[in-house]
Amino acid sequence: MTFDALLLLDMLLAAMMLMLAVAALHSHSLRQGIILFIVFGLVTALAWARLRAPDVALAEAAIGSGVAGALLLAALRDRKPRKQKTPMARPAWQVLTVTYLVIGLALTASWAFLDAQANHAGPRLGAMVQAELANSGVANPVTAVLLNFRAYDTLLELAVLLAALLGVLALGPERTAPRAAGPVVTHLVAWLTPLLIVTAGYLLWVGAHAPGGAFQAGALLAAAGIVVRLSGNPHTGLPSGVWIRMLAVAGCGVFMFVGLASMSGGANLLQYPADWAGTLILLIEIFATLAIAASLVLVYLGGRPESWSSGGKNARA
């Protein structure tokens, strides 16, 4: 009986994901679509949990649903109201061709996937990870992969985030801040922010031996920043000018520094000395969290903050 119930749950989850995706993409009003997308993200997080991927579930809920949702909604808010813009429908042959091609692609991909599972199964990297886990300095295999075995990839990912941030900053000034909110939101934010910060710290620390880690913690910290911004604070609680730039770069920077430093003993890039591994990983994660948070909040602002161009600490009127 229990087994059947779980299967039913999984099928319901799958059906919900499909319906939400279709509804989000083809809804009439864009705002509805975005909200449906947020719900889609949350249901996806449930799916990750069912597939035994708790770290991914945390990240999906926080980043994929939370931050992405906030970004999309903010973008929608700033859109100038279109004057009478009924999008002209694409000619039918275009729609049909693309649809058929995509269906063909999907079928080919499915066939390839099933074939690979059936005929080409080989030794899994996961087994290797489990075997070497004790040497990696942390007990959570996902953290071990991210910050030790494949640390190079994570370094590049931080670089990508930094590049996106630079792009956003270069594209223009920040969005106008929402007006100062009423007492309900202000008081909510007042105690929510410290709670978010503490929870972010907890997630960061616990990532060594349980689901969690730098990305989830960074996303929570970014959420704290976003929430402060939504309550109308024009400075968003961020440290001014130089500091925030240093924070954003520090994620990549500290990572590289540790990697290069580890080369000084004659080892390869990012090959940590064995007994320092845990400490080094924590060090990198701390700065990565701060950098991720800083980057995400800046990106949510949508551009260069006002206080930068006026030379630093002048408060906006």
Binding site: G182, V184, V185, L188, L192, L195
Partner: protein, 95 residues
């Protein structure tokens, strides 16, 4: 025995959720839907949480689960108030 109580609480919570969702679909206007969703869902979550609490053994996990309930309560209360206030603004503008 504890399992039975736990299951009962969880089912009760689910019942409230269903009630809230039915209200969301069937009630005529936004304000009453808001009422249905916040009251029923929060209570439903509370029952669910207490049902789960009975299954846990260490106090830290119990604290975390309780914290989830409190946070959802606060968030939905704030959200509900914001939606209602927005509605009121809209009404004032159009009248």
């Amino acid at each position: 025995m504890i399992d039975l109580l736990s299951a009962g609480l969880i089912v009760g919570g689910l019942f409230f959720y269903v009630a809230g969702t039915v209200g969301l679909i069937r009630l005529p206007d936004t304000l009453s839907r808001l009422h249905a969703v916040t009251k029923a869902d929060n209570l439903g979550l509370g029952l669910l949480v207490f049902g789960l609490l009975l299954q846990l053994s260490d106090p830290l996990s119990m604290l975390k689960v309780l914290l989830i309930w409190v946070l959802v309560l606060a968030a939905s209360a704030a959200g509900g108030q914001l939606i209602a206030r927005h509605l009121q603004h809209k009404r004032e503008e159009s009248s």
